[in-house]
């Protein structure tokens, strides 16, 4: 199978998965006993059966489940995600207002993770079984074991309260201004730490594996300085393995955003999701869940394609 065909097949097989993701999202919220109308009736016993039926019909909750799914997915495909009842705003614009905030935070977290993980990973692989390698192992283990909400609170405690270097809460300024960059640092570090720990271990093991290959010996034998061997030959090949976990890390950054945005009161999608859960905003919960699922599926697709482009040795099957 050629590269082009591989990509085409991979894209086509994504379509049924996306359909599955939408069914899954809908089922998660709807296959439970009781719906919002049941709660409404329980709270207001004076509502008659006829009124209840009328309310159900109004919200499209009177048909069988598959019909409700069909109504929902038709609306979603036309860009209508329902309303956020609490603020009486359509879900679409509500999400679009908050999405850039989450993307900015996620990208910043990614950058921090890469900045920490790649140099330390290289260092640990080159100086295998030395003190530096052991220290990097301790760092990785702590990074994975730190609850991100606690790390966030501790960073606030140390940098914002004791050292007074940062204001705790970001002011309500436009996102893309230089002044806002400073407020991204603490949440960005919080969100990037766990990912950087995972990434560093992957980086180290793939570097160490590449270092044992024969082309490295060949490069050394022809008299290249060690620096060139490591940074030009080995690094390139081991970076390929980073793309394989990129999609996984995107998912973990997404999950991290839910918690970290709540710690720093960052006005993004994650915080909106927590609010939606507490306020039982069904439309908003479904929209954000669907959005997350689709994003992760597409991230996986992208990672597979990038991997195929980067590594010509891969067999497409």
């Amino acid at each position: 199978m050629g590269l082009r065909r591989f990509i085409a097949v991979r894209v086509l097989t994504t379509i049924p998965i996306l359909f599955g993701v939408s069914v899954f999202t809908f089922a998660m919220v709807h296959l439970t006993p009781g719906d919002p109308i049941d709660q409404l009736v329980a709270l207001n016993p004076q509502i008659s059966a006829a009124e209840e039926a009328a309310i159900r019909a109004r919200y499209g909750l009177d048909g069988p489940v598959w019909q409700q799914y069909f109504t929902w997915i038709t609306n979603v495909l036309q860009g209508d995600f329902g309303t956020v009842i609490n603020v009486d705003q359509p879900v679409g614009p509500y999400i679009m207002d908050r999405l850039p905030q989450t993307i900015a935070l996620g990208l910043f977290g990614w950058v921090i993770a890469l900045l920490i993980a790649i140099p330390t990973g290289i260092y640990a692989a080159v100086n295998k079984d030395t003190l530096g390698d052991d220290l990097s192992r301790v760092f990785a283990l702590s990074g994975i074991s730190l609850p991100n909400f606690w790390l966030g609170l501790m960073l606030i405690l140390v940098f914002a309260l004791w050292l007074d270097l940062w204001p705790v809460l970001a002011p309500n300024k436009p996102l893309f201004s230089p002044a806002m960059l400073k407020y991204l640092v603490l949440p960005g570090v919080t969100i990037g730490t766990a990912s950087s720990a995972t990434l560093m271990r992957v980086m180290r093991s793939s570097m160490a594996e590449e270092m044992n290959k024969e082309y490295v010996t060949a490069a050394r034998a022809k008299g290249l300085p060690e620096r060139t061997v490591v940074l030009k030959h080995v690094l390139r090949n081991s970076l390929i393995s980073v793309t394989t976990i990129a999609a996984f890390l995107t998912a973990s950054i997404f999950a991290g955003a839910v918690v970290v945005e709540s710690v720093f009161a960052w006005p993004g999608l994650g915080r909106a999701f927590v609010k939606a859960i507490s306020g039982r905003e069904v439309d908003l919960i479904m929209a954000i869940t669907l959005f997350t699922g689709v994003t992760i599926i597409l991230a996986n697709l992208l990672a597979d394609i990038v991997y195929a482009l980067l590594d010509p040795r891969i067999r497409y099957d």
């Binding site: 998965i17 599955g20 993701v21 899954f24 998660m28 919220v29 439970t32 283990l141 702590s142 990074g143 994975i144 074991s145 730190l146 609850p147 991100n148 909400f149 606690w150 609170l153 501790m154 606030i156 405690l157 309260l161 004791w162 705790v168 766990a194 720990a197 995972t198 271990r201 992957v202 093991s205 998912a251 973990s252 997404f254 999950a255 991290g256 839910v258 918690v259 709540s262 710690v263 999701f273 927590v274 859960i277 507490s278 039982r280 919960i285 869940t289 997350t292 699922g293 992760i296 599926i297």
Partner: protein, 345 residues
């Protein structure tokens, strides 16, 4: 020199000379018949691993402290009468007539200080281990068991069954676990068993995928074919011959996942979606500090209400990960596959 054994003639081997062994070797005739199972050998390896043993001691200590923090009563009978925690973890101390105010700094009477409702943080941290530890172990046992059965069936039968079962897993993997847990809590409401369920309903997917991969490798072995040829039923072949040989990575994964579950439970508690407010659960305790972290009484920062509960989570998860790494090294399960490490939520 040659020896006659059965019908096979062995040449070039002098059986008599074998008796005279190296004098320094600790071989004895008795040891020759000793056998060591894989698990015994792994335990021996594990015991020599200092960091893993440190983790084990810390987890055991935290478990003991949690059990003995307050008396345990089951159906009116006191099973465990000891009380290590100096105060009732949910008691508001000034209401009890004690001279204690909110946000008292750590002192001899209150080693971890008091929180915003004048409750003893030390007692609460000790007691809080009960929630996190028990949920962690319960969730991991149930999810590992479900994942084992699911993955074993998919991997063993293969074909169309496998295809359908794996597509379902793909769907679960399209969502971060924490997000799914949050939705389940939104549907079910708060509470202890609701939390257990929130992490169980989809938590088995990782184990299922892992065990399926192992089963695919193991089922190619001749002894599996031999068992089938002897007329063993599928169920017997799977659980008697295939699963025991594929289970090592599952054990590693399970030990590393306890940390992930504990962090997840604490994260829900922190978001105010775990146990009812005021519960002495580590994450829920941090939630209460979030609003007051900025301004304490008299301009002081009540750092102790944040540092100690979170530190307890960190210490436990770190120790669990040390144990998991130790088990991984001991079982030498890392044959090419990277096992995900606990902590990611």
């Amino acid at each position: 020199m040659s020896t006659e054994r059965g019908r096979i003639r062995i040449t070039g081997f002098d059986a008599d000379r074998v008796e005279s062994r190296e004098p320094l070797s600790d071989w004895t005739e008795e040891r020759d018949t000793e056998t060591e199972s894989r698990w015994e050998r792994a335990w021996g390896e594990f015991r020599d691993n200092r960091s893993a043993m440190l983790g084990l001691y810390i987890v055991a200590l935290m478990g003991i402290l949690a059990v003995f923090a307050r008396p345990v009563t089951i159906a009116g009978v006191t099973v465990q009468p000891f009380s290590l925690a100096p105060y009732d973890p949910s008691a508001i101390l000034y209401v009890q007539g004690l001279d204690v105010s909110a946000y008292e700094a750590p002192s001899l009477a209150h080693p971890f200080g008091t929180d915003g409702s004048a409750r003893d943080v030390f007692s609460r941290v000790l007691y809080g281990g009960r929630f996190s530890l028990s949920i962690g172990f319960i969730v991991v046992s149930i999810t590992a068991a479900i994942g084992l059965v699911y993955g074993a069936i998919a991997g063993y039968y293969g074909g169309r069954i496998d295809e359908v079962m794996m597509r379902l897993l793909d769907l679960i993997f399209a969502f971060p676990g924490l997000l799914l847990a949050l939705i389940i809590v939104a549907v079910l409401g708060k509470g202890y068993w609701e939390l257990v369920l929130a992490f169980t309903v989809f938590g088995w997917a990782g184990y299922a995928r892992l065990i399926r991969g192992e089963i695919l490798k193991v089922k190619e072995n001749e002894y599996v074919m031999a068992a089938k040829a002897l007329g063993a039923r599928d169920r017997r072949v799977i659980f008697r011959h295939v699963v025991p040989n594929a289970i090592a990575p599952l054990v590693v994964q399970a030990s590393l996942s306890i940390g992930t579950v504990v962090i997840g439970v604490a994260a829900l508690g922190f978001l105010g979606l775990g146990l009812p407010p005021g519960s002495a659960e580590w994450g829920t305790m941090l939630d209460a500090t979030r609003e007051t972290i900025v301004q304490g009484p008299g301009g002081t920062i009540p750092w102790w209400v944040t540092v100690f509960p979170g530190g307890a989570i960190f210490l436990f998860v770190m120790s669990m990960n040390l144990i998991g790494d130790g088990i991984n090294d001991a079982l030498n399960a890392q044959e090419g596959t990277d096992v995900a490490t606990g902590g990611e939520v």
